[in-house]
Amino acid sequence: MFLAFTLLTLGSALAMAFQKNVIVAGLFLVATFIGVSGLFILLSNPVSAALQIIVYAGAILVLLLFVIMMLNAHEEESPQDDLYLQRYIALGVGGLLLGGSLWFIKQSKLLQSVAERPIDQIAPTSLNEIGAEMLTRHIVSFEMIGLLLLVSMIGAITLVKKRL
């Protein structure tokens, strides 16, 4: 199961990166999200899995594809050859990020403790627990995110609406 979902995730992520057709790439991204949500289920976190699909696959990517279709961006932009330097820099930064994140994962105490926990102690996280956590321990960040979303919503409205 783990292998299947990993392959689905990685394979469609790669396919997405190399796909020239924007819409097909978007669909591969959906497949990636589904794979990720499968991995969430294997990590006994079904709520995250469901939210992953509802929020990312169900809403955000639909809007993304919607916009792509609306703009009808079929044509490829001609590749620009005079960006060698940028390309190397991007490669370097990407490698650095990859190494850094791998190092972080290796060092992380939390992940270590999760990995060492015996398997029978893992219970599926339920929505109730997540809600309680959010409104007690993480109340500040929860409120911050709410504020951020509110601000971005107001921004979107002012951008779109010409006559307020």
């Binding site: 699909i53 809403a59 639909v62 279709m69």
Partner: protein
């Protein structure tokens, strides 16, 4: 016996039976629904409806043979793919529409759980307390948009893409109201598993009476999600031909048609589970007294009634205008569901 040959454990074989029965049930119920739709609409409009096709030229069975004839016809029709279509996407589009529609049924309990020799059997595909609960049909419902979008885009037809755009925008907008009205339900139940929801309804009465606003919003949004009239903006004969499936023919079109009806069944099943007490029997506090089959029958009766309501509403109401649809979704359904949520939150903390 056969299970011992296949060396299946009781759990696994039970699962297999459930999967087969459920999917078979969905696939078998969808075609007769087309018959219900056609004959029902005929009766509503004082017509007679299709009644001529006959088995072996003799047995007419009220026009039910039309269902078989249609299915056969789909198989033998020429399979056309438009010239500039995206072939691979065009091929998988019906599957992308069909599979999420089928999957949505998985969490719905069709009868009460029972125990045999100490093992508890649940009458839903996914066992309760899996942590996913009712988030699952919502998630799968969100995926249903892709079938429409991909079908629309891959057929390289302006009508198709207009239909697909309208449908997807509509489905995404109405998902908000849907989610929020279900959220109010979660608040009232204090859990989000369909079993808990049903048991709560057995104890305290149907949510249809306890949360009428929530029911209204959920009901309307389900209509929008299934792309049924009065919200069938994916199609529109007078404006965009057949909308997203204009270019689809033969069995591909058949799958698209089946998808619509399976969506209806799943939507009715959700409505029944969430607001009409699921498998519980009305005016009867204790659900455990009844045999399992009676509860299943109760569920089926409610389910078929809801399917009929879908057909009934279709032939009563005309289609909205698109701006009216968006107005309804964002300015009425969304605030209503928020109001419902706040009211329910206030009610339980009172």
């Amino acid at each position: 016996m056969i299970f011992s040959i296949l060396s299946l454990t009781p759990e696994l074989s039970w699962m297999l039976i459930k999967v087969l029965v459920c999917i078979g049930f969905l696939m078998l119920l969808a075609p007769p629904l087309t018959w219900v739709e056609r004959r029902g609409s005929a009766m509503i409009q004082d017509r007679i409806g299709p009644n001529r096709a006959a088995l072996f030229g003799k047995i007419k069975i009220l026009g039910l043979a039309h269902v078989l004839a249609d299915g056969l016809k789909f198989f033998f029709k020429e399979d056309l793919i438009p010239k500039d279509a995206n072939r691979s996407l065009f091929w998988i589009a019906p599957a992308l529409a069909f599979i999420p529609a089928l999957l949505g049924f998985a969490v719905i309990p069709v009868g009460r759980s029972f125990q045999v020799e100490g093992v508890t059997y649940h009458l839903s595909l996914i066992d309760p307390n899996n942590g996913m609960g009712l988030l699952y049909p919502l998630a799968i419902g969100g995926l249903a948009v892709y079938g429409v979008l991909v079908a629309a885009w891959s057929s390289n037809n302006k009508w198709s893409i207009l239909g697909g755009m309208r449908a997807s925008a509509q489905m995404v907008s109405y998902e908000l109201g849907l989610g929020l009205s279900v959220l109010a339900l979660f608040v009232a139940v204090g859990g989000y598993d369909p079993h808990e929801v049903i048991l709560d309804q057995v104890e305290h009465g149907w949510f249809l009476w306890r949360q009428p606003i929530g029911f209204l919003v959920f009901f309307v949004c389900q209509f929008a999600e299934t792309n049924r009239l009065p919200f069938d903006f994916a199609e529109g004969e007078s404006e965009i031909v057949a909308g997203f499936h204009t270019e689809f023919g033969s069995m591909k079109f058949g799958l698209m048609g089946l998808t619509e009806y399976i969506h209806i069944i799943v939507a009715s099943a959700l409505i029944v589970t969430l607001y009409l007490g699921g498998w519980s029997i009305p005016f009867n506090g204790d659900g455990d007294r009844w045999p399992v089959l009676v509860t299943v029958a109760s569920f089926l009766v409610k389910l078929l009634f809801m399917c009929w309501v879908f057909v009934w509403v279709r032939w009563t109401l005309p289609r909205f205008r698109y701006d009216q649809l968006m107005y309804l979704g964002w300015r009425i359904m969304f605030p209503l569901s928020l109001l419902n949520l706040v009211l329910n939150a206030w009610w339980i903390t009172r």
